[in-house]
């Protein structure tokens, strides 16, 4: 940004300096002025076709498309002058003449740029008296359905598939007002990142089948989050209604995922709404697990662990904070910590180097490694006779009954911290129910070592508590003198104890994150054995 010449321009009376080659539209952002636009998107090549961003430039005969025009020294640009405003009003009227005006049944309603700008600046009525063009709804394959009557032909979707996904499935078919977005013969939107066209579409023309008719946008609560489905750590917005997550969308972060999110990540949110959650702490009474209060359960867990080496099987989808607290338990009692990672096929987004659906399908593999946990395919193998087994948010899916029985026989005590109660966990001495990632806040460390915060999106069921709170109490019960039961405190302790995180603060991470040093080495677990 700093190299090269700086250009001074005045936009809506505000003087700004921007690097040479900056578009008027981006320069206006620097000046704090929004120039209305449709076809322009910072993650796509410039098309300059919607003509919505026409602005008046003093001493220039024609209005200039702000997205496609670089600023020049000394320019005075007007966004809200009469000529620019009238031009936008003309574009809006033209965009609406063939539009069905079906906002009441349109999924995009409430988050539609056509709606927004029309409310802001459009005519109060249309002068169009002729028949409207009609084209039938088309299934584009994948998660995408196309409603051509609402389409404004901004071509963002076409450009995404061609220039970012490098899988040119979409095109503009036909000419004039018969033009529609078309698919090339025999092809579908099956690219692993194709669902982004739904987000890129500024109107209700490209819709997600998954979200179709599910909620009105104004009924949704939105929280900044991180996609929990692989190690890439794409920034997301978790959207919920009535305490149910109904949609996960990409949230821009230039350093991680730009503006994009893969389809697998986008659609894999239903597990956040599981109904088979454990809502109360449980303690073994005779042959069965029985509900108990938190104080009693935490004390029972501490009693089961106290004086024993501990073998921790942790989920690599737990936050850095909870993994750090588990490591502290191991440090107090001695023992080992392992995790395993579900695998899936890699799916890179070709147009964005470094952005890919990663093979490791868990959010915090790098964090678990840096905090000293060992990756393994056989998480129960390290369990020694007489050890306590502490299983943290790991269902051990796929482990065979014999090895589970053997582990239960080997372990002196089984403590389960988690969201669900799989059948093997019925043997546990104590079960502490915790929130899933949508119900708490915390941080993940992504594959590139970026530590990123996610915020709470909904409430946890019953008496389930955030993992950091449950672990904080357990550590206190085990004799830890520092009381760390809020995530910022836990993170402070983590940053103080682990060099790769040195200097970071929870607040300082903000919503962009910070990166651990490139030479970061995994910590040694269980210094005090």
């Amino acid at each position: 940004m700093t190299e090269g010449k700086m250009i001074s321009v005045t936009i809506e009376g505000r003087a700004v300096q921007v690097p040479e080659g900056t578009s008027m539209l981006e320069a206006a952002k620097v000046a704090g002025v929004l120039i209305p636009h449709y076809c322009y998107h910072p993650g796509l090549p410039v098309a300059g076709v919607c003509r919505m961003c026409l602005v008046e430039v003093e001493k220039s005969a024609k209005l200039a498309p702000a997205c496609a025009t670089s600023v020049a020294e000394g320019q005075v640009i007007h966004v809200h002058s009469d000529p620019a405003r009238v031009a936008r009003q003309g574009v809006l009227e033209m965009l609406l003449i063939n539009h069905p005006l079906d906002c009441p049944i349109c999924d995009q309603s409430g988050e539609c740029e056509l709606q927004d700008y029309t409310f802001a600046e459009g005519r109060k009525d249309s002068r169009y008296r002729e028949a409207k063009r009609f084209n039938p709804v088309e299934d584009f394959g994948g998660d995408v359905v196309y409603v051509p009557n609402r389409c404004i032909l901004c071509t963002r979707c076409v450009r995404f598939m061609e220039d970012v996904a490098h899988d040119p499935v979409l095109n503009v078919s036909e000419r004039g007002d018969r033009a529609v977005i078309g698919k090339f013969e025999g092809q579908d939107l099956t690219h692993p990142w194709a669902g982004n066209v739904v987000e890129l579409c500024p109107v209700g023309a490209l819709l997600s089948k998954d979200f179709l008719n599910k909620a009105r946008s104004w009924d949704l609560d939105r929280s900044a989050s991180i996609c929990p489905n692989c190690t890439q750590g794409c920034n997301t917005a978790l959207e919920s209604r009535d305490n149910v997550v109904v949609r996960m969308r990409p949230r821009p972060n230039e350093d991680v995922n730009k503006y994009f999110l893969c389809d697998e990540g986008r659609l894999n949110y239903r597990w956040l709404n599981r109904r088979d959650r454990v809502e109360f702490p449980h303690i073994r009474r005779g042959d069965a697990l029985a509900p108990a209060g938190w104080d009693e359960a935490v004390e029972a867990a501490a009693a089961a662990l106290r004086g024993r080496r501990v073998h921790v099987v942790a989920s690599p989808s737990l936050s850095n904070e909870v993994l750090f607290q588990l490591a502290q338990v191991i440090a107090r009692l001695g023992g080992t910590g392992v995790f395993r990672v579900r695998q899936g096929p890699e799916a890179p987004l070709d147009g964005v180097p470094g952005l890919s659906l990663r093979a490791d399908r868990a959010a915090n593999v790098r964090g678990a490694e840096l905090l000293g946990f060992r990756r393994t395919e056989t998480p129960l193998a390290g369990l020694a006779n007489g050890d306590a087994l502490l299983v943290a948010d790991e269902e051990l899916a796929g482990a065979d009954a014999a090895s589970l029985a053997a582990a239960a026989a080997t372990a002196a005590a089984v403590v389960v911290i988690g969201t669900t109660l799989p059948s093997w966990a019925m043997r546990a001495a104590v079960m502490l129910p915790i929130a899933n990632m949508a119900e708490e806040e915390g941080t993940f460390t992504n594959v590139e070592g970026r530590v990123q915060r996610y915020l709470q999106a909904k409430a946890a069921p019953g008496l389930a508590r955030p993992g950091y709170a449950a672990m904080g109490d357990l550590l206190t019960a085990l004799g830890d003198q520092t009381v760390n039961v809020v995530p910022s405190d836990v993170f402070r302790a983590l940053a103080a104890a682990h060099a790769p995180f040195g200097g970071m603060t929870y607040e300082g991470l903000g919503l962009r994150g910070a990166t651990v040093s490139a030479q970061a080495q995994p910590a040694a677990l269980a210094a005090a054995t």
Binding site: V46, A47, G48, V49, C50, R51, M52, L54, A61, K62, L63, P65, A68, A87, G90, V91, E93, M94, L95, I97, N98, R127, Y128, R129, E130, I152, L153, N171, V172, E174, R175, G176, D177, R178, A179
Partner: protein, 441 residues
């Protein structure tokens, strides 16, 4: 000559001298008529000297914009390390224009020679001739001429033994009006959808395949060998007063006129004499009502305006229109202007590439209103709406197709408002026989 009419004595036939002469199509026949002497001469010259000569001749682009050709060529900087390209725009898609078609049908070698000289002058080794998809015969003639020129060593890696490489490729379009727009033509040539590109960058910076490119009209390029052979002064002298417009211009005359065809006259010729003497005036019993002098995209003139016009770039502008491509469309007093303009609007609506909102929606909307007025369904507010839509369509889009659709509508309403109002008031087209029901009412 006024092909297919006999040449008129007041014509100045330079480019059209051999129209209708089949022998001029062959390489041997063309050489007998002095062909390729200019190319031989230029290959011994410095490219800069050729550009200078064309500059001095005053030759301006014949495709419509009238930009000085020599100046355009001088934008191509020699020694920039990039391949240069020459594009010949033989798309000739402007309604009412059919001069390039005749040039390619009868004198294809003239265009091959013009392309070769142009390419050499701008430092290009490759010239592309982009021929309109509907032009089957011109395509055959050009392909054959290029084949002959290669066989005789006129083109190729050692053009005319000069040691210089000049390749000419003939490319067939697929039949889209918009591919006559220079950047849409380049996209089409590259195998993309023929959508105009945003300028800047201009073709001289990034044209065909992203490389510096000059694009010239057929008529412009075929004029160049004559300038080389006869000198810039000779060309400059072909003008009747206004030194800014020089040389001869081919006009394609069509519509309600007695002798339609191609006429070549010197710049500055009086339009009135052109229309009545050369072209024979309107059909018997009719009078001219309106003239569209430069292809369908220029403002319509009333006959009174046309009769006062001097035929050169500045002369047409002074009388409220443009020389454009030289496609003269004559409209007599038996024609309904609303119907004519509605037909033009329909053409533009059909041909809009659909990129820009105002063009995609505006051309179609304009067409629907125009056709509704013609059908007798117009309302009082329609004319104001049409003018406002036209305003939204003017100077706001990537290319000028949208402006071209607005132009006949605006000039038509300005100059023939009474006809529009008659349609609206009478609820029918006054130029059509009244129906029995309407008479009874």
């Amino acid at each position: 000559m006024g092909f297919p009419q006999k040449s008129h004595p007041r014509e100045t036939t330079v480019l059209s001298k051999h129209f209708g002469d089949p022998d001029a199509r062959t390489l041997a026949g063309w050489r007998n008529r002095g062909g390729y002497r200019a190319l031989e001469q230029t290959l011994a010259m410095e490219p800069a000297a050729i550009v200078q000569m064309v500059k001095e001749s005053g030759l301006r682009g014949r495709g419509g914009a009238g930009f000085p050709t020599g100046v355009k060529w001088s934008f191509m900087k020699p020694g920039d390390g990039k391949p240069h390209y020459l594009c010949c725009n033989a798309d000739e898609s402007e309604p009412g224009t059919f001069k390039d078609r005749e040039i390619m049908r009868w004198t294809p070698h003239a265009l091959v020679e013009g392309c070769a000289i142009g390419a050499y002058a701008i430092g290009a080794e490759t010239a592309y001739v982009y021929i309109r998809g509907e032009f089957t015969e011109p395509l055959e003639r050009m392909t054959e001429a290029v084949r002959e020129a290669y066989a005789e060593g006129i083109l190729g890696r050692n053009a005319l033994g000069s040691g210089k490489r000049i390749d000419v490729y003939v490319h067939k379009g697929a039949g889209a009006y918009i591919c006559g727009e220079e950047t849409a033509l380049m996209n089409s040539l590259e195998g993309r959808r023929g959508n105009p590109r945003i300028k800047p960058p201009f073709p001289a910076t990034a044209g065909v395949f992203g490389q510096p490119t000059t694009i010239n009209n057929v008529e412009t390029l075929v004029a160049v060998p004559h300038i080389i052979n006869n000198g810039a002064e000779w060309y400059k002298a072909m003008c009747l007063g206004n030194a800014k417009s020089t040389g001869t211009k081919l006009y394609s005359v069509c519509g309600n006129v007695r002798r339609p065809g191609n006429y070549e006259v010197v710049m500055g010729f009086p339009f009135k004499e052109f229309l009545y003497d050369l072209c024979g005036g309107p059909p018997a019993g009719r009078r001219f009502k309106a003239i569209i002098p430069g292809g369908s995209s220029v403002p319509i003139q009333t006959i009174a305006e046309a009769e006062a016009t001097v035929m050169d770039y500045e002369g047409f502008v002074a009388c409220g229109t443009m020389l454009g491509s030289g496609g003269v469309i004559c409209i007599d007093d038996a024609q309904c202007m609303v119907k004519q303009i509605a037909r033009l609007a329909r053409f533009y609506a059909h041909e809009s590439c659909a990129q820009c909102t105002q063009c995609r929606e505006g051309t179609a909307w304009t067409t629907k209103i125009m056709e509704r007025i013609e059908a007798g369904q117009g309302t009082a507010g329609d004319l104001d709406t049409l003018l406002d839509i036209a305003d939204n369509m003017t100077a706001k889009t990537i290319c000028v197709l949208s402006d071209s659709c607005a132009v006949p509508v605006v000039s038509g309403i300005q100059k023939f408002r009474d006809e529009f109002e008659a349609h609206i008031v009478q609820h029918r087209c006054p130029f059509r026989p009244a129906t029995a029901a309407a008479v009874a009412a």
